[in-house]
């Protein structure tokens, strides 16, 4: 099978993984206090950590926090409401499957679908463009995800989509939220594990100003078990040694400059503006909106989106109890939430973190409650 030698075996080699776990344990022990807290900002990191059971091998004193790295989870309720309102107005939407069940102020896209709204689930924005080509009716792509996904939206716009295609952008940009989370009162974060795929686009050099401002080390890591273990080991060693810089532990995909072609396309189409991240805060420059030159494909300008009527319904009592925001800011765990596993389960989620396959609550629920309280099997 293609790729098997490289990706299936070498990057999942148990002997190397054990050795890295031991090195991680030694670096944490060298620091000599508990907990040593680091944050990753990527749902795919959490998925890999859960899938390969990496937490059970982490040193007990190491606290690996999942930050606001799940694009579905941080899509704000009013943004969901815009999609719901459009669908209820009879406009046909296309979006990524994860978005359907995320609760808005007055229901989710799935609820809108049940009420007769037409919403197509696509794997790629390119499929949404194909949908538009095959029909004369308007197709709005409800665009969510971070810069890694926003570049794909940019590419289809630059490639000239059909006239009946437009974009409702809820895209988000990760670097500014790292600043916000670092500055939050009660933040325990001592270093960041940055997502390799986003850095593939933006380049690791992007994090240098952040390191200079906040004095926290950043390590760019990939998504195979060895990538994550090596990334964490390097990060803890940097905390131990007081090294304040960016380390690239994913050199097979990430360069200092990143993918300049993709960056050029991203910034030709989008501009960063401030906006709310669900449950977290207003994040300056954290949202990506279409530039004025793209007004003709901006669903917010093409349609009158009436969200106000959705806001007659206040969020439910359960929604107000949801602590997704604190979980994504790293100051609470799913097990701190009164709803977790009871009133809030994947089948009937209250918060977005229980909806997405990349959400902390969903991952903890699927992989057995409180994964970081497992025994130290791997490194023993």
């Amino acid at each position: 099978m293609p790729g098997s030698a490289v990706d299936r075996l070498e990057f999942r080699d148990p002997a190397r993984a054990r050795a890295l776990n031991d090195a991680l344990g030694r670096a944490v022990a060298d620091i000599g206090r508990s907990p040593v807290s680091v944050m990753h900002v990527c749902g795919s990191h959490e998925q890999a950590i859960a899938k390969f059971g990496l937490r059970t091998g982490f040193p007990r004193a190491l606290n690996v926090i999942m930050g606001p790295g799940c694009p579905v989870c941080i899509t704000d309720m009013p943004e969901i409401d815009e999609g719901v309102a459009l669908a209820l107005q009879g406009v046909r939407l296309a979006t990524y499957g994860d978005m359907l069940r995320v609760p808005g102020t007055a229901g989710s896209l799935a609820d809108a679908q049940a009420a007769g709204g037409r919403i197509d689930v696509v794997y790629s924005v390119a499929q949404a463009v194909e949908l538009a080509r095959a029909t004369t009716e308007e197709i709005v792509f409800f665009a969510t995800g971070f810069e890694t996904t926003a570049v794909a939206t940019a590419a289809v716009l630059l490639a000239g989509p059909p006239k009946n295609f437009s974009v409702l952008s809820a895209h988000k940009y990760i670097p500014p939220v790292m600043e916000i989370v670092s500055e939050m009162p009660g933040s325990r974060v001592e270093g960041f594990l940055a997502a390799g795929h986003a850095a593939t686009i933006t380049g690791w050099g992007l994090f240098e100003p952040f390191v200079a401002r906040h004095g926290l080390p950043v390590v760019v890591a990939g998504f195979e078990p060895l990538d994550i273990l090596a990334g964490l080991t390097r990060l803890v060693e940097m905390i131990r040694d007081g090294t304040r810089e960016v380390a690239n532990m994913f050199p097979r995909c990430v360069t200092r400059e990143g993918n300049r072609n993709a960056q050029a396309q991203l910034w030709r189409v989008f501009r960063p503006i401030g906006g709310r991240w669900r449950g977290i805060a207003h994040v300056p420059n954290g949202n990506l909106r279409l530039r004025d030159e793209w007004a003709h494909v901006d669903a917010r300008r093409r349609f009158t989106i009436d969200v106000a009527k959705l806001w007659d319904h206040a969020p439910s009592t359960l929604v107000r109890q949801c602590i997704c925001g604190n979980i994504m800011a790293g100051i609470a765990s799913p097990s701190d939430c009164a709803l977790f596993g009871g009133a809030c389960v994947p089948e009937s989620p209250v918060g977005a973190c229980m909806v997405s396959s990349e959400g902390t609550c969903r991952i903890w629920h699927e992989y057995g409650g409180v994964p970081d309280l497992g025994s130290r099997g791997g490194a023993a």
């Binding site: 099978m1 790729g3 490289v6 090195a23 579905v72 996904t149 289809v156 795929h197 593939t200 995909c253």
Partner: protein, 103 residues
């Protein structure tokens, strides 16, 4: 949504490529990739778009980096801890065999 997956390029036409992801073939777009892609290359894929051509030598560089990290972390205090572990195990083994010899 975010899981970028590497795959092997099996066909290339102008703007798209057919890529084999561990036996699953998919057509991906090449708009975003930063260098020319050819049959036999590995590409990192994200939501139907290739975002990076992965040079084979870079895979080896990554592994070499991890080996170097291990070597570094085994120097200094780390080496002492590890040595202590190994010596401890040898001592325990010797003790055990000693007991067996006596028994």
């Amino acid at each position: 949504m975010c899981l970028g997956v590497p795959g092997l390029v099996t066909e290339v036409d102008d703007l798209t490529a057919v890529v084999d992801f561990w036996g699953v073939r998919r057509r991906v777009r090449l708009d975003l990739v930063d260098e020319p892609v050819a049959v036999g290359d590995y590409v990192l894929n994200h939501v139907g778009f290739a975002i990076r051509r992965i040079p084979p030598e870079d895979v080896q560089t990554t592994l070499a980096l991890y080996e170097a990290l291990l070597r570094e972390s085994q120097r200094g205090d780390g080496a002492d801890l590890m040595t202590a572990d190994v010596l401890g195990e040898i001592a325990a083994g010797a003790e055990g065999s000693g007991l067996r010899a006596k028994g």
